[in-house]
C-alpha cells in the first residue's frame, strides 16, 4: 500500500487537556479514508493537525510526527503544506465574492493572471465537481447566493485550484440535505482518481458508502483502522462493535 501521509505518535492538547493521544496511522494514496467516531473524540483536531491549521488556534500543543510523502511536515513551510493538503470545512464557506473570484483567488495569489488561463482553471475545477453545467451563466454572481450543496461544491472546487495532493473534508455534508449529499458523494468518488481524500464524518452510512478505509477514533485515540468492508462486516474491537451497534455516538 502506497501511503501519502503517515502520522506517528501524534499527541495534541488544548491548554493542557489532551485531545489526541499517541495517534499512529497511515493514509493510502488515491483512496478515501473515513475518520469516524463519537462527538468530541478529536476527529476535527486530527484533521486540522494534518495541514497545520491547528497551529492557528491559541493554546494548542502538538508532539509526534506527521509525514507527507515521506517528508516531515515540520520541514515544510505552513503555506506550502496547506497548498499541498487542502481542506473543506463542515459549513460551506465561500468568500463573499463571485464564484469566479472565489475560484481564481488562489491561482492569482500564485501568480497566474492571464485571463484565458484563469478561465480554464475555473471551468476545469467546476467540471470536476459537476457544477459547471449548472452555474456556467452565473459565474459572476455572489457565491453566497447559491444553495448549500452548490456552495460546498464551490468550496471543493476552490480547494482544487491549488492542485493539492491530499484533500481533507471535515463533515462536508452535515449541513446539507440528502440530495446535495448524494451529489457531493458522487463528486468525491470521482476526485479520488486524482487526489487522496481524508473525510471526517459523523454519518456511518456515508463512511460505508464512500470510503476505502476507516479510522475509528474514540476519546482521542485510535481504536481500530481497517478496510471499510472488513470494518463494517467484522469489527475487531469491542468498542467498534458497540459504536456500530449504536451503543454510543
Amino acid at each position: 500500500m502506497e501511503t501519502i501521509m503517515d502520522v506517528r505518535n501524534l499527541t495534541v492538547s488544548y491548554e493542557g487537556k489532551a485531545a489526541l493521544k499517541d495517534v499512529t496511522v497511515s493514509f493510502p494514496k488515491n483512496e478515501i479514508t473515513a475518520i469516524i467516531g463519537p462527538s468530541g473524540c478529536g476527529k476535527t483536531t486530527f484533521l486540522q493537525s494534518l495541514n497545520g491549521l491547528i497551529t492557528e488556534i491559541s493554546g494548542v500543543r502538538c508532539s509526534g510526527e506527521i509525514q507527507l510523502e515521506g517528508q516531515s511536515i515540520d520541514g515544510i513551510s505552513k503555506e506550502v503544506l496547506r497548498k499541498r493538503v487542502g481542506i473543506v470545512f463542515q459549513t460551506p464557506m465561500p468568500f463573499p465574492f463571485s464564484v469566479y473570484k472565489n475560484l481564481t483567488y488562489a491561482p492569482k495569489y500564485y501568480g497566474i493572471h492571464k485571463k484565458s488561463e484563469l478561465d480554464r482553471i475555473v471551468e476545469e475545477k467546476l467540471r470536476m465537481v459537476g457544477l459547471y453545467e449548472e452555474i456556467q451563466n452565473d459565474l459572476h454572481k455572489s457565491a453566497l447566493k447559491f444553495s448549500g450543496g452548490q456552495q460546498q461544491r464551490i468550496c471543493i472546487a476552490r480547494a482544487l485550484t491549488v492542485e493539492p495532493e491530499v484533500i481533507l473534508l471535515d463533515e462536508p455534508c452535515s449541513a446539507l440535505d440528502v440530495q446535495s449529499t448524494a451529489v457531493i458523494e458522487k463528486t468525491l468518488l470521482e476526485l479520488k482518481k486524482r487526489y487522496s481524500l481524508i473525510i471526517v464524518t459523523h454519518n456511518i452510512a456515508q463512511a460505508k458508502r464512500l470510503s476505502d478505509r476507516v479510522v475509528f477514533l474514540k476519546d482521542g485515540r485510535i481504536v481500530e483502522t481497517a478496510k471499510t468492508s472488513e470494518f463494517f462486516a467484522e469489527p475487531k474491537e469491542k468498542e467498534s462493535q458497540e459504536f456500530l451497534g449504536g451503543m454510543f455516538g
Binding site: 495541514n51 491549521l53 492557528e56 491559541s58 505552513k78 503555506e79 506550502v80 503544506l81 496547506r82 497548498k83 499541498r84 487542502g86 481542506i87 470545512f89 463542515q90 459549513t91 464557506m93 468568500f95 463573499p96 465574492f97 483567488y105 488562489a106 495569489y109 500564485y110 455572489s142 453566497l144 447566493k145 468550496c155 476552490r158 480547494a159 485550484t161 491549488v162
Partner: protein, 279 residues
C-alpha cells in the same frame, strides 16, 4: 404577576416614548429655529460684518470642519483598524490583548479638552507645527481612535473564523487573508465606523480650540494652516450674546444636517452591501 408585567411594559413604552420625544424635539427645535436663516448666501459665503457672522455665511466653517474631520479620520482610522486586526488575528496572548483593551478604554476616557491641551503643548508648541488643521486633526484622531477600533474589532470578530481558515487552507499568508478577504468582507462595518467617528470628530470643539480652529479664516488650502470650524463658530456666536443667536441656530442646523445625512448614507450603504452579499 400581571401587575409586574404591566409595570415593565409601561416602563418600556414610557422610556421609548421619552427617548423618541427628546430626539424629535431636539432636532425639530434646532431645525425650526435655525431654518429661518438658511439661505444660499448663508451656505456659500464667508462671514462678514463688524460682529462675527452678522453678515455673510458660514462656508469657510463648513469646508474647515470637513478638513478637520477628514484629517482626524485618516489619522484615527489607520491605527484603529491596524490595532483591531492585530488584536483579533495576530495577538496570541490573552494578557496582552487585555492590556491593549485597557489602553484603548483609557484613551476613550480622556476628556477631549485634555487631548486639546496635549496636542497644543506637543504639536503646536514643542514640535512647532503651529495652530493648524494637522495639530487639531491629531488631537481629534486620538479621540476617535477608540471609537473606530471598537467597531472594527467587533466586525472582525463577527467574521466566521472558518472563512479566514479557508484562506490559510489555500496556502495564502495571513497578510493576504487580511487584505483580500477580511477587509473587503468588513468594508461596510468599517466604513460606517469611520463615518460615525467622523461625525463625532466634527462635533467636538475642545480639542481644536487651542490647536487649529480660528474665528476667521478663508477656505482651507493646506493642513498646515488654521481653519474655521462649525462647532467653534457656533460657540463664538453664542458667546457674543443674543444678537447672533439666530445665526448660531443656523450653524447648528447645518452641523446636524451634515451629521444626519452622513448617518443616513452610511446606513443605506451598509444595508445595500449586506443585501448584496448575504442571502
Amino acid at each position: 404577576m400581571h401587575f409586574r408585567s404591566f409595570i415593565i411594559r409601561l416602563w418600556a413604552y414610557v422610556g421609548m416614548g421619552l427617548v423618541a420625544g427628546v430626539i424629535v424635539f431636539l432636532f425639530g427645535y434646532i431645525f425650526y429655529k435655525g431654518g429661518a436663516c438658511i439661505s444660499w448666501e448663508f451656505l456659500t459665503q464667508a462671514p462678514a460684518g463688524a460682529m462675527l457672522g452678522q453678515e455673510g455665511g458660514i462656508f469657510p466653517a463648513i469646508t474647515g470642519s470637513l478638513a478637520f474631520t477628514l484629517t482626524a479620520v485618516v489619522i484615527g482610522a489607520v491605527p484603529a483598524i491596524a490595532t483591531a486586526l492585530w488584536i483579533v488575528f495576530f495577538c496570541h496572548s490573552k494578557r496582552l490583548e487585555e492590556i491593549l483593551h485597557i489602553v484603548i478604554q483609557c484613551i476613550a476616557g480622556v476628556p477631549s479638552i485634555v487631548l486639546g491641551l496635549f496636542a497644543y503643548s506637543l504639536f503646536v508648541r514643542d514640535l512647532q507645527f503651529g495652530r493648524c488643521i494637522l495639530s487639531s486633526g491629531i488631537a481629534l484622531g486620538i479621540m476617535v481612535l477608540p471609537f473606530i477600533e471598537v467597531r472594527a474589532e467587533k466586525a472582525f470578530r463577527e467574521l466566521p473564523q472558518q472563512m479566514i481558515h479557508a484562506v490559510y487552507a489555500l496556502g495564502c499568508t495571513k497578510t493576504h487573508a487580511m487584505l483580500t478577504v477580511v477587509l473587503p468582507a468588513c468594508r461596510a462595518e468599517l466604513f460606517s465606523g469611520i463615518i460615525l467617528g467622523g461625525c463625532y470628530a466634527m462635533g467636538a470643539t475642545a480639542p481644536m480650540i487651542f490647536t487649529g480652529a480660528v474665528a476667521y479664516a478663508s477656505n482651507p488650502t493646506s493642513i498646515l494652516k488654521p481653519a474655521m470650524a462649525l462647532p467653534l463658530h457656533l460657540y463664538l456666536l453664542v458667546a457674543q450674546g443674543t444678537a447672533s443667536l439666530g445665526i448660531a441656530y443656523g450653524t447648528a442646523f447645518v452641523m446636524m444636517a451634515v451629521i444626519l445625512i452622513s448617518n443616513m448614507l452610511v446606513t443605506i450603504y451598509a444595508r445595500r452591501r449586506q443585501r448584496a452579499w448575504k442571502q
